[in-house]
């Protein structure tokens, strides 16, 4: 298993170099898709999946250890919980400040920007939360499926 793996993948200089050059641009594009979702097609799901695909590409071209150097399992779990907590936290805070659950206009009492601007900004916060959760869950699914649960040695 081990030597087939070492000869079959990860040893090609062209693939390694091009992936190393490509990954920052893919991550930048993912962040652009999340942030620019108000004005163009895109949003939390799509940007999160693109951000996750950058790590999956790293794990395919190098090996799983390399991708876990850039995003450890602990950081992955942190991002998963952070995304869900951002989403539910925004809803809960807007409920605490006098509105309904997920009624962003109530956040105007916290920072006065104007209720309609808070609608726009609340959608942005929620999309960031969705993006974090989707990114880390996609990476986690790929790690588990490609190593069949051991998380230490991939395809």
């Amino acid at each position: 298993m081990r030597d087939i793996y070492e000869h079959s993948a990860g040893e090609d200089l062209i693939i390694k170099t091009s992936v190393r050059l490509l990954v920052p641009f893919i991550q930048l594009f993912g962040l652009y898709v999340i942030v620019h979702g108000h004005y163009s097609p895109g949003g939390g799901f799509q940007g999160g999946v693109i951000l996750g695909a950058a790590f999956i590409l790293l794990a395919l071209a190098y090996d799983m250890k390399t991708s876990q150097e850039y995003m450890t399992i602990r950081v992955n779990a942190l991002f998963t919980n952070l995304g869900a907590a951002i989403f539910i936290g925004v809803g809960a805070v807007s409920a605490i400040f006098g509105g309904l659950f997920l009624d962003y206009a109530a956040l105007n009492k916290l920072i006065p920007l104007g209720p309609i601007e808070w609608h726009s900004f609340g959608i942005f916060l929620v999309e960031v939360g969705v993006g974090f959760t989707v990114m880390s869950i996609m990476v986690l699914l790929y790690w588990n499926l490609s190593s069949s649960g051991t998380l230490d040695e991939g395809l």
């Binding site: 004005y39 163009s40 097609p41 799901f45 989707v134 869950i137 699914l141 588990n144 499926l145 069949s148 649960g149």
Partner: protein
């Protein structure tokens, strides 16, 4: 004759969605391999999503991203923009579908670790024994 041609032009894509759904449904119950069943489930799901998205189409309608100043002035016409509501619902359905696929593939790997095969009849034989 005229009405039959009009009926065909107006409905032909609904018939093709039904054909796609039949392909997926047959793969789900007729094929013995579990990965084939999963691919059939994905085809089924995509045909349903395709049907929902196609209910929002309007002839000559633009994409659901409007000009901001036109929208603030309130001069956007509903007839010139496609219906955005099915898009929202199906966006959710696609992302839920990929997580369902992930869980199903995890269960398949667990079945393979337990029985050493992915064919339904061989698994049933091993369970009988």
């Amino acid at each position: 004759m005229e009405s039959i041609v009009g009926e065909i032009v107006a409905k032909y894509n609904y018939w093709i969605y039904v054909v796609l759904m039949m392909i997926g449904f047959y793969a789900m119950i007729g094929k013995r391999n579990l990965v084939k069943k999963l691919l059939g489930m994905n085809i089924f799901q995509t045909s349903i999503i395709l049907f929902f998205v196609s209910t929002g189409v309007k002839k000559g309608g633009g994409i659901p991203i409007v000009d901001k100043y036109q929208g603030l002035a309130g001069t956007v016409e509903a007839a010139s923009t496609v219906n955005p509501l099915p898009h929202v619902l199906m966006l959710t359905a696609i992302v839920v579908g990929v997580s369902v696929t992930g869980v199903a593939l995890a269960v398949l790997q667990r079945i393979y670790r337990e029985y050493g095969t992915l064919e339904e009849d061989e698994i049933l034989e091993k369970i009988q024994r």
